[in-house]
């Protein structure tokens, strides 16, 4: 395995009596795009700020390219950062903003000008060099901020919720642009977000954080499909949770609302009579019986929401409600509220939450 480019080792941060980050460990490979995903106050921005040097860890070590940078000042780290609030210098033009880091580093003017032009090309705003930040839209300002961060060729790029101040459409196009630039330059990147869709769509790996800890680190596929904890399962994506009672631990039989399903190999040492939380993603459930789906439950349709390309249906099963999505087909009318319905799923898709 290659040497990690960024290594965050046993990092802890406390503000007075409050510990906001505890025992955080993460190794990031060279050129990897890693996202910190979590709700407000989970410590994701604090970890990023410790990597940037704006906060000093109370304990632990941060290593970049084999060098311990834990106690270095932010201006000695050669790290680029994009902030949520753009943070462009209002008194400088776009070109001066992008060239700021180059000028501070003492790069000759001709070389700096060339690099600024190159950056403007990269972010597809070649004509904007003479404008001031206030003359640009939010999306343009954030692209300039990205160009400014990568112009001095930093070792590491940190993105602190760079898209959250933008409107939905710009957010999607800019995140794709950020990812494509990151891939093109091969720069190791850490991205902080509370938006799961953003994290799932652009990351190589995601660290889901909660209460100052990394709950799970994995690829978007692993995080979504194999959540390691109840928090990750609930936080990432929509989840249907059903209560079940183990009826026969040896054969993996579980009773859900007086109906029995088989979850062989998934009970992880549960005993007969134990109550379990069972979770299913809406897309893992089908309305009606389907070949290849080995488990089914009966209930009654309680809600139908037409969302255009998909129809979200809620089925009441005993005291629980299960949400599922079915594709809209113009030839078939949507299901009606009050109809009896059977849902089927593959028992392999059912998650047993611990």
């Amino acid at each position: 395995m290659a040497e990690p480019f960024l290594s965050i080792q046993q990092v802890r941060k406390a503000f007075g009596a409050t510990t906001v980050v505890q025992d955080f460990n993460l190794d990031v490979e060279p050129g990897e795009f890693v996202s910190f995903l979590g709700p407000s106050g989970c410590g994701k921005t604090t970890v990023l700020r410790m990597v940037a040097g704006f906060e000093e860890p109370s304990a632990g070590k941060i290593v970049v390219a084999g060098k311990d940078i834990t106690r270095l000042k932010p201006n000695q780290r050669n790290v680029g950062m994009v902030f949520q609030a753009y943070a462009l210098f209002p008194n400088l033009t776009v070109a001066q903003n992008i060239g700021f880091g180059l000028k501070v580093a003492g790069m000759p003017k001709a070389d700096a000008d060339r690099r600024v032009a190159e950056m403007l090309e990269l972010i597809k705003l070649p004509q904007m060099g003479d404008r001031y930040p206030y003359q640009l839209s939010g999306g343009q300002q954030q692209r300039i901020a990205l160009a400014r961060a990568i112009a001095p060729k930093p070792k590491l790029l940190l993105l602190d919720e760079p898209l959250s101040a933008l409107d939905a459409k710009v957010r999607v196009s800019l995140r794709e642009e950020i990812r494509s630039i990151q891939k093109k330059l091969g720069i190791t990147t850490v991205f902080v977000t509370h938006d799961q869709e953003e994290a799932l769509s652009i990351s190589d790996r995601i660290a889901v954080m909660y209460g100052g800890k990394a709950e799970q680190v994995g690829t978007p596929f692993e995080i979504y499909n194999r959540p390691a904890t109840k928090f990750v399962a609930n936080f990432v994506g929509t989840l249907n949770v059903l209560e079940g009672t183990v009826t026969d631990a040896a054969s993996g039989k579980v009773r859900v609302n007086a109906q029995e399903i088989s979850l062989q190999g998934k009970l992880n040492g549960s005993k007969s009579g134990d109550t379990l939380s069972l979770a299913l993603r809406p897309e893992a459930i089908s309305l009606g019986r389907h070949p290849g789906r080995d488990a089914s439950l009966s209930g009654e349709i309680t809600e139908v929401h037409f969302l255009g390309s998909v129809i979200r249906v809620r089925v009441g099963i005993g005291g629980s409600t299960v949400s599922l999505d079915t594709f809209n087909s113009p030839a078939t009318p949507p299901p009606a509220v009050g109809e009896k319905a059977e849902i089927s799923f593959s028992s392999g898709d059912m998650l047993v939450l611990h």
Binding site: N78, A87, F89, P90, F100, A105, Y132
Partner: protein
């Protein structure tokens, strides 16, 4: 109803304007009476022709410039640091900067004379240049409430913390951050403070007189005590200088660097 409220508004405006303008008009009218039986600008001619006017005015302008420089060097980094790192100390600093409004200049200057006399370890008063420096320091203290407030208000319009962090991560040190990012963005606020300082220094009497410096304030007092019409002319000239400063603040504020938060 609307007609009535407009009448009262105009009445209040009229009374206020009269209260403010009438004494000025009277002073102006009196300053034109130097020649018997007709109006003339003789009093102004006499003031502008007086070599003491020119020397004292020039002296005060130079002192004002040094006061502004000292004020900016003292206040900008302080106000910046308070906003960035010590926001809890802001009320304390505000209180300290307000003290010159409460403590009379005469008390401050007597304190200086006792502290910095020729026998003290810092004998500012032993030489003329030293006394000039002490006068500049004293004026910087007198201008502190205005300068601090102006700069602090300017800093409030920008995101000090994020801009500082953005500059830091790009490799900038503190001097670069203050000189190239913070100061240009609060320049208009600094200029407002500077012009207010200028207006204070130009007419100040107590400190200059007790430190025995040839400033414009003591000259104004001396003319007032010995002539009839020239003091009125000088009063109007002082007013014009102050108003000029205020107008410059207004004009310059139109050229303030615009930001995303303040696009127009």
């Amino acid at each position: 109803m609307k007609q009535g409220s407009r009448f009262w508004a105009w009445l209040v405006f009229g009374v206020g304007t009269t209260y403010f303008v009438l004494p000025l008009l009277a002073t102006f009218e009196f300053s034109l009476r130097k020649r018997r039986g007709e109006y003339s600008f003789d009093a102004y001619r006499s003031v502008f022709g007086d070599p003491n006017f020119q020397t004292t005015f020039t002296y005060s302008v130079v002192v004002a410039i040094f006061t502004i420089l000292l004020g900016v060097l003292l206040v900008v980094p302080t106000a910046y640091w308070i906003r960035l790192r010590l926001p809890n100390l802001r009320p304390v600093i505000e209180f300290i900067t307000l003290l010159p409004l409460v403590i009379p200049a005469i008390v401050i200057v007597f304190g200086y004379i006792r502290m910095f006399g020729s026998n003290s370890t810092l004998p500012f008063l032993a030489t003329a240049r030293g006394t000039d420096a002490l006068l500049v320091i004293g004026y910087a203290v007198l201008a502190l409430p205005y300068m601090y407030r102006a700069v602090d208000t300017g800093l409030r319009t920008i995101d000090v913390r994020t801009l500082t962090e953005a500059a830091q991560i790009l490799g900038a040190g503190w001097t670069t951050i203050i000189a190239r990012i913070i100061l240009p963005n609060v320049l208009i606020a600094v200029l407002s403070g500077a012009f207010l300082s200028f207006a204070i220094v130009i007419g100040e009497f107590t400190m200059a007189s007790l430190l025995n410096r040839p400033a414009f304030g003591p000259y104004l007092q001396n003319i007032g005590a010995n002539s009839a019409y020239e003091p009125s002319a000088l009063a109007l000239i002082s007013f014009a200088i102050t108003w000029g400063c205020m107008s410059l603040i207004q004009i310059l504020s139109r050229f303030a660097p615009r930001s995303a938060n303040r696009p127009n």
